[in-house]
Amino acid sequence: MDAILEMRGITKEFPGVKALNNVNMTVRRGEIRALVGENGAGKSTLMKVLSGVYPHGSYDGEILYNGKPVAFRGIPDSEELGIVIIHQELALVPQMTIAENIFLGNELATRGVIDWNETNRRTAELLAKVGLRESPQTKVGSLGMGKQQLVEIAKALSKKVDLLILDEPTSSLNEHDSDALLQLLASFRDQGMTAILISHKLNELSQVADSVTVLRDGATVAQHDGMLPEDQIIKEMVGRSMDDRYPPRDPQIGEVVMQVRDWTVEDPDRDGRLMVKNAKFDLHRGEVLGIAGLMGAGRTELAMSIFGRSVGKLRSGEVTINGSKVDVSTVPKAIKGGLAYVTEDRKSLGLVLIDTIRRNIPLAHLGGIAAKGVVDSQREAEIARDFRKRLNIRSSSIEQETLNLSGGNQQKVVLAKWLFTNPEILILDEPTRGIDVGAKYEIYTMIRDLAEQGKSIIVISSEMPELLGITDRILVMNEGRLVAELPTAEATQEKIMSIIIRSGHNLTDDQITPEQIEAETPHV
């Protein structure tokens, strides 16, 4: 066996926490190795040790690269030997062009004077390699997430790369872009590159990975030279078998609670472009309604525009709740109308990260902890403690800063914030993105319980198995339009995908009439 990388007995401690405990990992030359584990299992820490973010000496154990022990003092050291890491959060400057981004910090220059011709020529080559048909002069900010990810990869290729590490590369991509990316990765492997792929999406890993290393609680659980079935990987990740990934449910669906009619939203940045076109749907009491669609289909825009016009410019439309027309033109009015919106981006839109759990929870309903504008801190603490217990928010106490919580626990704090407003209608946007399997199950259970209490819930999700597992009814959205509606019992992943693909056909024009939509909508 020809190992390009061997990490032996890696132990990394932070004050009070042992993040990695005697971790081993071997990567063979020319393979794609999957690295999996729940959030907080230590995957990112391990990769930071490998890439030199945590310099040699700050951890115990040894790293053998190409059979020789290495001691990296920083990222430049590891990059020099061909180890390149692409982080989950893209590190691109949106205001700069593709070419400028790719050679940022690594400019093709003589004595500080940049050779733009050479830069553009090399960029064009790299873009061809990753299959991105864009001009090197295109501003990165104008590209979609999928293309930006390709730019990141082109940037990695611009360096001499033997071992490419990708941390959740598809977490913000739609399925089409994800597939393309995975294929690209496979083709690189066939040309001899080695890669480590970190992902929560096990189905993707089974597509491309050759072998898998499983971490749990900072320790290596298993290293397999081949891929395992998903169920078995999950079992090793969580340390228990997960026969059922979704809690059993017994929906009691009541009368119509909310009606949205003729909802059309314009993009304020691009004149005339519509983000949401003539959306129309009903939501019932006790119902979990899913909205499926590709990234950029307008699902978030639909939700956020209903929630206090937080996005876009409303051109037409009305919302009826419990039979009467409701003004949802500002966030406070929407909250008053019984709506709550749990954002897909909990870090930048959901939490005040520098504040504690206690201070985050009442933020959307400060009146609930105050009398005449004066906060009752005892009541506030009681409420925070209560939610911490009820939602099983794992933390040292309610005084812990939300910055230091894992993704799943952050999501629970955001949920707690909105549950405290006691909404009738909850809109959850990608509620389980980037959180581990155990926490996902807890959130599914919470959604079920809320529906059983008579709340109405809308779940927007890009993970179709999740929608199929927890909803009663699914709306399919594509290019700003709600193109189909089907009971979950009759839905399958293939069906939804084919609806999306068929609806995209011949419908690129924004000026489309309702009749056309009607005609093009597949009736399933």
């Binding site: 926490v17 907080g40 929630f307 206090g308 937080s310 500002t330 966030v331 406070p332 929407a334 909250i335 919106y341 954002t343 930048s348 839109l349 959901g350 939490l351 005040v352 990260l353 520098i354 504040d355 201070r359 009442p362 933020l363 959307a364 400060l366 009146g367 105050a370 504008g373 004066v374 906060v375 801190s377 005892q378 603490a381 009681e382 217990k389 794992r394 040292s396 106490s397 309610i398 005084e399 894992s406 914030k417």
Partner: protein, 395 residues
């Protein structure tokens, strides 16, 4: 990552210090600086006459620092406060000296003028999203210019005695003129007792809730120190001329703003906006209005500072308040606020103001030149911020 259901252990002294090093550090720094100058000046610093001067000379900085703290916590900055203070001082001088309006009316009109100025700047910042640095930089130039224009390059003064009393008067003794000033003693000691009582009550509540994480020795030492300092200071001042009027104004403002920022919902909103304005907005907080009001408030406090300064100098001058904004902003940052917003306390800002004040005063007594004073103050500001940053990156 740890899965514990109980709260933090209460006796974890080391962990507590690490978490709260900033708050204790700043208080400790003030004490060290005071002791240093007390020794270096051969005991002059704590003499009643100097202590009184210390308060008189720094009141305007403290008054503006509490407003600036809110502005900075909200994620903004106000560079115009020095010019606004000068402008309102000139306006007040015009109304009192040239027009002969009654003083209470002048004070009210001046504060209103400040609020309107703050409102105009706040409007562009909050509703038009123009960076506060630019808006208030413009305001700084505009109101400096308007001050010169109103005053025609001249000083206006002197003021009638009642107006001067705002800044240099002392509270009267209702119980006769002998020393010590009984009313001052009652107020000062009463406040000391009230602060002690509040601290004990909060501690009890925290204990009942199981969230008391300050080790008891710390709690006892800190509050004993504050109590004794207040009692002693009151005694010293009462045996001199009594508590200065501005001292009362300052104390009331500090208490009020500490309460607003820590205990009221509007305070919460300001911290949330500074911490994450998008999340605050999506939580239904009307961030535009809150930011607007923060600037209205700042303008009003700048106006109050302008009145105090004019009254103390006994004239309005075109050069009044030059560089105040920098002292005020420095005080807030020394007090632990973050440029990024969302972090900082009123008490910290006040302590920061006193650190600057004691250093100014002590260095002047020692006869250190203004050149060195500037250098030393700059280094102290830098040191405080470096301390913050290194502290943050460690945790």
């Amino acid at each position: 990552m740890s899965d514990s259901t109980q709260s933090r252990p209460t006796g974890d002294t080391f962990g507590f210090i690490r978490r709260n090093i900033r708050e204790y550090g700043i208080l400790f720094a003030l004490i060290v600086i005071m002791i240093f100058f007390q020794i270096a000046t051969g005991g002059i610093l704590f003499r009643p006459v100097n202590l009184t001067n210390l308060f008189l000379q720094n009141s305007h900085i403290v008054i503006m620092a509490v407003g600036m703290l809110l502005v900075i916590v909200a994620g903004h900055i106000d560079l115009s406060v020095g010019s606004v203070a000068a402008f309102v001082g000139a306006l007040a001088a015009l109304m009192v000296v040239k027009m002969g309006l009654p003083i209470p009316l002048v004070v009210v009109l001046s504060l209103m003028a400040g609020a309107v100025i703050g409102g105009i700047q706040g409007y562009w910042i909050a509703y038009w999203k123009i960076p506060s640095f630019i808006v208030t930089l413009a305001g700084m130039l505009v109101f400096r210019g308007l001050t010169m224009w109103i005053l025609q390059g001249q000083n206006i003064g002197p003021f009638p005695r009642e107006f001067q009393m705002i800044a240099s008067g002392f509270i009267p003794d209702l119980f006769g003129p002998d020393k010590p000033n009984t009313l001052s003693l009652i107020l000062g000691w009463g406040a000391a007792l009230a602060i002690l009582w509040l601290a004990i009550r909060n501690r009890r509540r925290a204990e009942a809730n199981g969230v008391a994480d300050e080790p008891f020795a710390f709690f006892a030492a800190k509050n004993a120190l504050i109590f004794l300092a207040l009692v002693w200071m009151t005694w010293a001042l009462a045996n001199f001329r009594g508590l200065p009027n501005v001292f009362i104004v300052m104390a009331v403002l500090v208490a009020l703003y500490a309460f607003v920022s820590e205990r009221m919902t509007v305070g919460r909103r300001i911290y949330a906006i500074g911490g994450n304005s998008k999340a605050a907005k999506l939580s239904g907080i009307n961030s535009e209005r809150v930011v607007f009001l923060t600037f209205v408030n700042m303008g009003m406090l700048a106006a109050l500072a302008g009145i105090v300064v004019a009254a103390r100098l006994n004239s309005a001058t075109p050069k009044a308040g030059v560089g105040f904004e920098l002292d005020v902003i420095a005080a807030v940052f020394i007090g632990g606020a973050s440029m990024a917003g969302g972090v900082g306390t009123v008490i910290g800002a006040v302590v920061g103001a006193f650190i600057m004040g004691v250093m100014n005063n002590g260095m002047s007594i020692l006869g250190i030149g203004i050149d060195y004073q500037q250098v030393i103050k700059g280094l102290v500001l830098m040191a405080a911020v470096i301390f913050d940053v290194s502290n943050k990156s460690k945790s």
